[in-house]
């Protein structure tokens, strides 16, 4: 898990025993590192493992435990030492038994294969890999000789276990729709080598919901799915319905974004008004204090009873006066804007905190999407984008746009859907538009889709393309230190098109293993 604060660096994940019997992995976050300022580097946050923004609040005190400051300091210095020693290392899981995958071959980005290597995992993360790595004492070994190890695949466009297509608001989150206990489907997905998915909410068109990213590892409490982020992108569907409906959808989305813009003005006004109001209040309070002092001075000599009576009268008068005066020139409290959680999310979109993922396939819808992106200066991912070759120039002009393609399924029917240019990807590369691939549905097809695509690109191997999908994540890409997700293949996926995953290991647990013997036909 990486905390959302972007400029912070996470340095250590250490498994510590908190003394109360439960141990947890503790992440220490630092401000950006600068060697000259190193002494000033301070521990910013301490989080326990696997707790994201929301899950932290959900889990209550159970997981998020403030550490005693002494311990924090100790930890910080300890990890600093480590960092000093191994600038690249992220690991410091001292106290857990290591897991060793013995005798695997590791295909590398350069096409070479590290033969007969060991992969050593601690605390679910790879701490060492290569032919020279020796298994530490007391480690748990898994004999996987001859298998090929790669990082897990990432499906950037999945609807795994989302059986409903009724999501229709920015406050809807795909994570809510994920069925943790649908083990049949999840295991099938793992069996295809996919370990991490971006869940895309589906809906009737318009603003559909938010995309979540999760790992398919098994949860400690049962079931599968470890949330990485609930706010990967806001999904907008401009693709569904008849042409007329699609135009209406576009207008609706545009209207929603406009009203979000208006809302920002209201909110900004409110904030400034509020500040003014508070200042005025402070002044008014001062004035009152002064008046009070004066009053007190005057009234000091008078008798108590009189004072009381008079004061009451006075006050009554004053109250009335005050009320009048308040209405006239007293500080006026600004009206608080109504709650609108959906608009808040749209504001995040307008502020580039949350990208949008716009589903559009036909050129007309793509044009609409481009108009939206231009009008609101969105950072966007265009999903589908089959006819992107027809709007290539407009796309090239946009900044902050990438395409999320699905593998075309060529049809012999006329007018069956958007026409995909077989050389779309080459054209995109030429124009410098970044793109990625998703399965667009059940993630089981991802590896085959990527293989298919690599054939069209005449690339030597689909593996680099497949691993590039996850490269945006912290531990995606090629197998390396710090990775938590390992897929062991029966053949070299870089060369053998028929290679199949044999085992999938996430966070140090074998979450899927190819059944042996007669039941092997299962997946």
């Amino acid at each position: 898990m990486i905390h959302r604060g972007r400029k912070r660096f996470c340095f250590a994940g250490a498994r510590v025993n908190l003394g109360s019997g439960d141990d947890c992995t503790v992440w220490v976050f630092f401000e950006p590192i600068d060697r000259r300022k190193l002494p000033k580097m301070k521990c910013n946050r301490v989080f326990s493992r696997g707790v994201s923004k929301r899950s932290a609040s959900q889990c209550g005190g159970g997981h998020l435990q403030p550490l005693p400051s002494g311990l924090t300091l100790l930890l910080a210095s300890l990890t600093m030492l480590l960092v000093w020693g191994h600038p690249g290392t992220v690991e410091a899981q001292f106290f857990e038994r290591a897991l060793v995958l013995e005798g695997v071959h590791i295909p590398g980005p350069d096409g070479r294969v590290l033969e007969d290597s060991n992969i050593i995992l601690r605390g679910g993360r790879i701490v060492e890999l290569g032919p020279d790595s020796d298994a530490p004492m007391m480690s748990k070994k898994i004999k996987v000789k001859g298998l090929f190890a790669t990082a897990g695949l990432t499906d950037l466009s999945s609807t795994l276990t989302l059986d409903d297509v009724r999501s229709s608001s920015a406050i809807h989150s795909a994570w809510d729709g994920f069925d943790r206990y649908d083990s049949q489907q999840i295991l099938r997905t793992l069996a295809s080598g996919v370990t991490r998915i971006h869940l895309i909410p589906m809906g009737p068109g318009g603003i559909v919901g938010r995309v979540s990213s999760l790992s398919l590892g098994s949860r400690d409490e049962g079931g599968y799915g470890i949330l990485h982020s609930e706010d990967v992108a806001l999904c907008i569907d401009l693709n569904s319905g008849t042409p007329l409906e699609r135009i209406r959808t576009y207008e609706k989305v545009r209207g929603a974004l406009k009203s979000a813009q208006n809302r920002r003005e209201t909110v900004d006004d409110y904030t400034s008004d509020l500040e003014e109001y508070i200042e005025e209040l402070v002044e008014a309070a001062k004035k009152k204090d002064e008046e009070k002092d004066e009053e007190k001075d005057e009234e000091k000599d008078e008798k108590k009873d009189e004072k009381k009576d008079e004061k009451e009268k006075d006050e009554k008068d004053k109250d009335e006066k005050d009320k009048d005066s308040k209405k006239e020139d007293g500080p006026k409290k600004p009206d608080r804007p109504e709650r609108d959680p959906a608009a808040e999310i749209l504001l995040q979109v307008l502020d580039h905190e949350l990208p949008v993922m716009i589903t559009a396939r036909r050129s007309a819808d793509l044009q609409n999407a481009i108009d939206l992106i231009e009008e609101f200066q969105l950072s966007a991912i265009l999903r589908g984008a089959d006819e992107a070759h027809l709007v290539l120039e407009e796309l090239a002009e946009l900044e902050k746009v990438s395409l999320l393609l699905e593998v075309p399924r060529p049809s012999l029917m006329r007018g069956a859907g958007p026409r995909r240019d077989p050389h779309l990807i080459a054209q995109l590369d030429e124009e410098g538009i970044s793109w990625a691939v998703g399965s667009g549905g059940q993630s089981t097809s991802l590896w085959r889709s990527i293989q298919q695509l690599s054939g069209q690109l005449s690339t030597a191997s689909p593996l680099p393309l497949a691993l590039a999908q996850g490269a945006q994540g912290p531990f995606g890409g090629w197998l390396r230190r710090g990775a938590t997700e390992v897929v062991l293949w029966e053949g070299n996926p870089a060369e053998d098109p028929l290679a199949r995953p044999n085992r999938v290991i996430i966070n140090g647990t074998v979450v899927w293993q190819r059944p042996s013997g007669t039941r092997e036909g299962s997946f």
Binding site: G60, H172, G222, A284, K333
Partner: protein, 529 residues
């Protein structure tokens, strides 16, 4: 009908008489029949004292007492003991010789007494089941016939936020008369209601509480301002909104709550419980997250259905009570291998040590709404009979939070006692009499509906009685084949979980006399691991 009413009119219990007088003659038909059905010839004198003597008392909370005495005064149990227990001179004594006295079953979750289980509105925290209670439902009548004396009536599961539930007695002419405790819990659901998807359901559920928070902030702010205006302006100044919001929280009085938010406020401040419906395992996590976030741990109950038992680890970890669906066996076919995996759901919770209650079988199934049958199935799966009985009485009362008054025969509890002809979980025994708050609420011999159903004399029992011979001695005449369902029950049981039955027949070596102990402990009904 007129025959029946004519003969019984003078014997109405006193608390019902005034109501009868007020009822205009033309309206009588159904209502009168009902009244008469429940009415009986008890308590001519010393109406507030009742002594049940001679029966075996299954107290549930403690040891059973053979030839015990239960004394009920003003509806409350004042003494439970052996035959030596002193009986006040003015107590009305009912001889229960040969019978078994057990606490009335507690139905932990039912929407059967309502005209419709759910509103069309997805989120309706402002409704109260009180307004939808229909005393004329056969459901209540059947409840008595099946030995259920307290029912937690709650809105159905098809909601985002449902209304407020209450505890009712299955007797009375108006919701008022039936109600015993208002405002027990609010129904929430993390499972999508009809037409909803999971994303929408959970987003709306969160939204209900976030909207409530905002409303409460605003309320606090305006309350603070009211107070500030009212009081001496020297002390209470206008504050920045944020501070007035936090300071105003304490100033919120009950009368400030509006209808829309009142029950939510009660839920949050602890006056109401949270019963959350989870129709499948994946819905458990968001429910538990909500419970943790709002700190409802001590008053949350999960109403489970479907494959929710897969989330047993989470439920166990959270330490929350659950109410199980009436469908006790879960079957899942593996699409690839074709293997059917069967799970006897209560067993999962029993092994995990999670406290659970069970619901009566669904209406439409035979034997309908018979919670005793469900409990008997627990025994078949290997649970001790006493533990199974506890689950449908005291256990359910604990989960509903009413165990201080219901669920067992103890001094101080409400006198809801059922007189059985045999072991309450034996499907051959039937309910002879039901006392609700010490008043005879049901008597098999006066059961007009059963009389019409089975007008003929029952067949004489030839074989030696299976359990105890007393049951047939006096009550033999009357509407003997209570419910007329024992045979069908057996048929249903065999089709439901055939294996245990087969085992029984195959393992004939064991003595058939001790029925409840008969099924082997590791019953295969528990399903595969």
């Amino acid at each position: 009908m007129s025959r029946v009413s004519g003969s019984k009119e003078p014997m109405l219990p006193k608390r019902m008489l005034p109501k009868m007088m007020l009822t205009p003659r033309p309206m009588v038909s159904l209502v009168a029949a009902l009244v008469l059905l429940f009415s009986a010839q008890v308590v001519p004198a010393g109406e507030s004292k009742l002594a049940l003597t001679g029966g075996t008392v299954m107290t549930v909370s403690g040891e059973s007492i053979a030839d015990g005495v239960v004394l009920i005064e003003d509806g409350i149990i004042t003494a439970v003991g052996t035959a030596e227990t002193e009986i006040p001179y003015d107590a009305m004594e009912v001889d229960c010789t040969g019978m078994i006295l057990a606490p009335g079953f507690v139905d932990p979750h039912s929407s059967d007494g309502l005209d419709i289980p759910n509103e069309n509105l997805p989120s309706a925290p402002f409704v109260d089941v009180f307004d939808a209670l229909d005393p004329s439902r056969f459901f209540f009548e059947d409840s008595l016939r099946n030995g259920v004396t307290s029912i937690h009536v709650m809105q159905g599961n098809n909601c985002v936020v449902g209304g407020v539930s209450r505890i009712v007695h299955p007797i009375g002419l108006t919701p008022h008369e039936m109600s015993r405790q208002a405002g027990v819990a609010l129904k929430l659901s993390t499972t999508p209601r009809r037409g909803y998807g999971r994303m929408r359901q959970l987003a709306e559920l969160r939204e209900v509480f976030e909207e409530y928070d905002r409303w409460r902030e605003n309320l606090a702010e305006s309350r603070y301002e009211q107070e500030a205006d009212k009081e001496d302006d020297d002390d209470t100044d206008a504050l920045p909104p944020e501070e007035s919001r936090s300071q105003g929280q304490e100033l919120i009085r009950d009368e400030d709550l509006d209808d829309q938010h009142r029950h939510l406020a009660h839920l949050i401040d602890g006056r109401l419980g949270a019963w959350i419906y989870c129709g499948s395992a994946t819905d458990v996590a968001p429910a538990l997250a909500l419970v943790a976030e709002r700190d409802w741990k001590d008053r949350a109950v999960l109403v489970l259905a479907g494959d929710a038992h897969l989330a047993i680890e989470e439920i166990k970890e959270a330490g929350i009570d659950v109410v199980l669906d009436s469908d006790l066996i879960h079957r899942k076919r593996d699409a690839l291998t074709g293997d059917v995996e069967e799970t006897f759901i209560p067993d999962v919770y029993r092994r995990a040590g999670v406290r659970f209650a069970i619901q009566p079988s669904r209406s439409g199934a035979m034997p309908e709404r018979f919670i005793g049958y469900q409990a008997a199935r627990l025994v078949r799966s290997g649970m001790a009979p006493a533990a199974a009985l506890r689950i449908v009485t005291l256990g359910a009362a604990e989960i509903c939070g009413i165990d201080d008054r219901y669920g067992s025969i103890e001094v101080g509890k409400i006198g809801n006692i059922v007189m059985w002809t045999g072991d309450p979980l034996d499907l051959n025994s039937w309910v002879q009499k039901v006392f609700v708050e010490g008043i005879l609420a049901y008597d098999l011999e006066k059961d007009a509906r059963l009389e019409r159903l089975f007008p003929e004399e029952p067949e004489p029992v030839e074989a030696p009685a299976p359990l105890d011979d007393e049951g047939t001695s006096e009550e033999g005449e009357g509407a003997k084949p209570a419910e007329g369902t024992p045979e069908k029950t057996a048929g249903e049981a065999s089709s439901e979980d055939g294996e245990p039955l087969e085992e029984k027949s195959s393992e004939k070596g064991e003595a058939p006399a001790d029925k409840p102990a008969d099924p082997p402990k590791e019953s295969s009904a528990a399903g595969g691991e």
